[in-house]
Amino acid sequence: MDAITVAFAALYQFGDAFAFLVLSACGLAVIFGMMGVINLAHGEFIMCGAYVTVSGANAGLPLPLAILLGALVAAAVGALVERLVVRHLYERPLDTIVATWGLSLIATQGTLIVLGSTMAGIGTPLGSFQIGGYSYSVYRLVLFVMAIVVLAGLYVLFNWTRFGVMARATIQVPHMAAALGVDTRSVYSRTFALGAGLAGLTGGLYAPTMTLVPTMGTTFIMEAFVTVVVGGADVFLGTAPAAVILAIVKSAMTSWQGQLFGQIGLLLAVIVVIRVLPKGISGFLLRERA
């Protein structure tokens, strides 16, 4: 094995872990960072996106369109959940956790009853390529690119658009945003739908690589929460750097001792970061800049 082969293998592992962390966490991070709501049904929005994507693809939609449909359906369900449940609990953050956890149980069990214990999946598209005797999936590179696209898209949305300025004003001083004409309720509602839609997008993107079961959301949940906890409340200053650090830890531990140690490494990293930076990476960066 020459140096380039080793370097590429390491880079590929890192990219794969980074994409999984970013895509798992982004929807959760948007809802937590912008609204302070901890959405325990996050995994089920991912599941929703995956199921819709696979159904769409099986019905003959091209995969990219099926994924988009998955994201849109998850966003619509998110808007509905916000209106029916979350909106009534903004003053009661702990109750929101219980309520979204309840929704998560209902969604998992409901899917099990209605659609059965598993759903026929679709294969991973785009095939593979070889470097130095190792075979790599092209689709995993697409996932990495998509993770970057999602981060860049969120950056543009929150920094360069009217909605972005309204949303950031609303999280910083909600009553003042309202007093300046911002319909804060609509901002919260759209933000929740955005977070749910991002979760759906993640489900759609990973659907071709996984077995579809009603509990598939839990696959993403640990990574999602670890990334948000390490990152803190800010998507850009938190989620992105947290995903870089955690991806390095995870890919290094995984290639050293396998999947299980990769997971253990993530949990250890969280414990260390929380000891040193109680408000996560973004809390630390914002304090330094203030």
């Binding site: 009217r162 300025v165 309204m166 950031r168 004003a169 910083q172 001083v173 009553h175 003042m176 945003a177 309202a178 007093a179 300046l180 004409g181 911002v182 319909d183 804060t184 309720r185 914002l286 203030a290």
Partner: protein, 236 residues
Amino acid sequence: MVNETLLSTKGLRAGYGGKPVLQGLDLDVRKGEIVAVIGRNGVGKSTLMKSLIGLIPSMEGSILYRGQPIDALPAHKRARLGIGYVPQGRDVFPRLSVAENMAVGELRHAASDTERERVLDYFPILRERWSQRAGTMSGGQQQQLAIARVLIADPELILLDEPSEGIQPNIVQDIARIMVELNRSTGVTVVLVEQNIDMIRAMAQRCYVLDKGRIVAALDRDALADGEAMRRHLAV
């Protein structure tokens, strides 16, 4: 025009957590006036301002704006009717730049370049600090931003809550001068809550005295000039 009532409250009761701070408050503000509301700490001045803009709900009585009750409207809809609120403590968005703070002000009324330049001409410091985070500016600069952020939407009524608090005297004078100038040139109506006698005298045409959630006196311009009476109302 001159005597047309722009804003009035009738028997207004409002407060926090079911406890009214305002105990049946009646006031009238005519179009184009600068009216001050004075009173000691804790008599309900800021509560009045918050209930006028809609940050706390009316419990009883009503608030009329251009003759229409606005009690049922949430704050953002009142803002879109042309009411600009400059709160006590300024409440700029600390992690947004000056430009972005202004952009939030512009959401309900997209300002033309000329309008924006005119507002910035009053507060040139904001032009210098255009891309700086608002939270890193001094109190006086934040106060200017809070006022400019409201002016950019070309309001019909400005609710100005203790603009002099914690700000150096020369900036207080500037703000008073600018508000009077704007009032003369655009006819904007101002309700000013203030403790600073000099600022009240520099700006207000008349004045209500608030005590225990009620209006207990209305002073005209001559009474405002009477230093002894003013001190009594503010300091008792």
